[in-house]
């Protein structure tokens, strides 16, 4: 077997081994690749940055990702919550995916505990019911989206912790979409489209999205029309948001997306390298085959085996 032929037949076990090494390497060898911030991430960041905490309008976070897509979407949730909580913008959390509530309360608690661990007074702290509320999961997504435009507590009469929604101090000020400055949907499925069709088209609610890298290309048309005020796209978007938080002084370090992005970069380089090697081998062996079969087997030469 010559070299070029070998290029086309790399053992899959070797590929798996290289992939494993490339994924775990950034967790042990620290290095930092500077992030170029995409305009859609910056737009969403600036939208929240320009919100007025005294306007008493909340940010609605629809946490709809699952454990499978957690590495991409969870850092987005943590960054968005950090941004809102540090700016003292109230947050309302909801979920329409049954697997999401466990991850949502983990995100809310992690960020709230982190901020509260360095808080000096009640006003510095993040308190459930006053600064944020998590309403939990609800079935019948489309109907719920439409109904929340009339009254949120009609859809969620009780929150995740079984408190009456109307009894929470934050929810006394937030009745429906008119009291929401932006709804950001963090999802690995097509949920933002329904928000666009029902919550925005009917109630004029401003929307943002945090999507997996696979889902993001589908939402570029909505970014161009301005129907989405911004979008965090995949782990790269999450790393960009972490960098923006660091740049604006909301955090002292970047988070998990930045480390994940280093692994992802190395893996992408590996895949690109493998594809190039595979193509070099393919083209070289194709040329060799053509030469070998010239004049002897015309059917094989044309790529057909009779």
């Amino acid at each position: 077997m010559d070299l070029f032929s070998g290029f086309t037949r790399i053992d899959r076990r070797l590929i798996y081994l290289l992939l494993t090494l490339f994924v775990i390497l950034p967790f042990f060898v620290k290095f930092r690749i500077p992030q170029n911030i995409m305009p859609q991430t910056k737009n969403l960041f600036e939208f929240i940055e320009n919100l007025n905490p005294t306007s008493e309008k909340a940010v609605l976070l629809s946490i709809d990702y699952t454990p499978q897509t957690m590495p991409e979407c969870h850092p987005m949730a943590l960054s968005l919550l950090t941004h809102c909580f540090k700016k003292k913008i109230p947050v309302i959390g909801v979920s329409f995916d049954p697997q999401a509530p466990g991850l949502a309360i983990e995100a809310f608690n992690w960020v709230a505990n982190k901020i509260n661990s360095i808080a000096r007074s009640s006003s510095d702290s993040i308190i459930y019911g006053r600064d944020y509320v998590y309403l939990g999961w609800k079935s019948g997504r489309i109907a719920a989206l439409l109904e929340m435009g009339e009254k949120i507590s009609n859809v969620f009469p009780k929150d995740y912790y079984n408190n009456y929604t109307d009894s929470l101090s934050l929810m006394k000020k937030i009745k429906n979409y008119r009291d929401i400055s932006i709804a950001i949907i963090l999802a690995a499925a097509d949920y933002p489209q329904e928000w666009l069709m029902y919550a925005q088209a009917r109630h004029g609610l401003k929307l943002g999205a945090g999507l997996t890298a696979v889902m993001a290309p589908k939402y570029y048309p909505f970014l161009q029309t301005g129907q989405l005020s911004g979008m965090i796209s995949g782990m790269k978007g999450a790393a960009e948001y972490e960098n923006l938080l660091l740049r604006y002084g909301y955090t002292e370090t970047t988070g998990k997306a930045e480390i994940g992005m280093n692994s992802q970069t190395l893996v992408h380089l590996l895949i690109i390298g493998l594809i190039i090697i595979g193509n070099v081998g393919y083209l070289a062996t194709k040329k060799k085959d053509k030469k070998m079969f010239k004049g002897t087997q015309p059917s094989r030469q044309k790529g057909r085996i009779s």
Partner: protein, 207 residues
């Protein structure tokens, strides 16, 4: 009557719901609110159906004593166990339910998804060949998007991220728009067919 009543109801509700979308009168809004509440309640029945189907399917496998019956047993016991823990011991952040979810289900889900990366890298190496001009174009654009969206793309050449963004904003957006229009027209056509009683498969497949 058995067929005409559901078809008539479907036509009436279809027309009413279509009409109320364009009429912002309080009566119309109230009607919409009522129907939305019904839809939320009816949607909850999907959960009951789901649990019923899952249970029946796995009970049948266990009864047949097939080689995979232990997996079915684990599925049923896990479902039942999580339901009991959640209903009787709560689902707040310090509960056993949340601990199982975060420390067992989440890593399992992430592992399943991570395995995809292995198959994808192997498949990309084997299948991504420039066999024709079209395949070459696809390969080229994939390289540009991959490199452009990596942080390292900026360091390789400052034009690459812009080029990747252009590919997403122009050729990708044009094709996505086409698909979206197609899906929207298809949905409108299907909705009209159902409202007008042309499409009747929802009645159980009988004419």
């Amino acid at each position: 009557m058995k067929r005409k009543l559901p078809l008539g109801l479907c036509l009436l509700m279809g027309l009413l719901m279509m009409g109320q979308f364009f009429i912002p009168h309080p009566v119309s809004t109230k009607f919409n609110t009522l129907i939305n509440k019904w839809v939320i309640v009816i949607s909850a029945f999907a959960l009951v159906l789901g649990i019923g189907n899952l249970s029946r399917h796995h009970i049948q496998i266990i009864q047949r004593s097939g080689p995979n019956r232990f997996y079915s047993l684990v599925t049923l016991l896990s479902m039942l166990g999580m339901a009991i823990i959640g209903i009787f011991f709560g689902i707040d952040e310090k509960s056993l339910y949340q601990k199982i979810f975060i420390h067992i289900l989440t890593p399992l889900g992430a592992t399943m998804f991570a395995l995809l990366a292995y198959y994808m890298s192997s498949a990309a190496y084997r299948a991504f060949r420039a066999r024709s001009i079209e395949a070459g174009l696809l390969l080229g654009s994939a390289f540009v998007v991959m490199i452009g969206f990596m942080p390292i793309g900026q360091l390789i050449h400052p034009i690459i991220p812009g080029l990747a963004e252009w590919l997403m904003k122009v050729p990708n957006m044009a094709s996505q728009r086409g698909i979206l229009f197609g899906v929207a027209f298809g949905a409108v056509a299907t909705a009209l067919k159902i409202i007008l009683g042309i499409e009747r498969s929802w009645l159980g497949g009988r004419d």
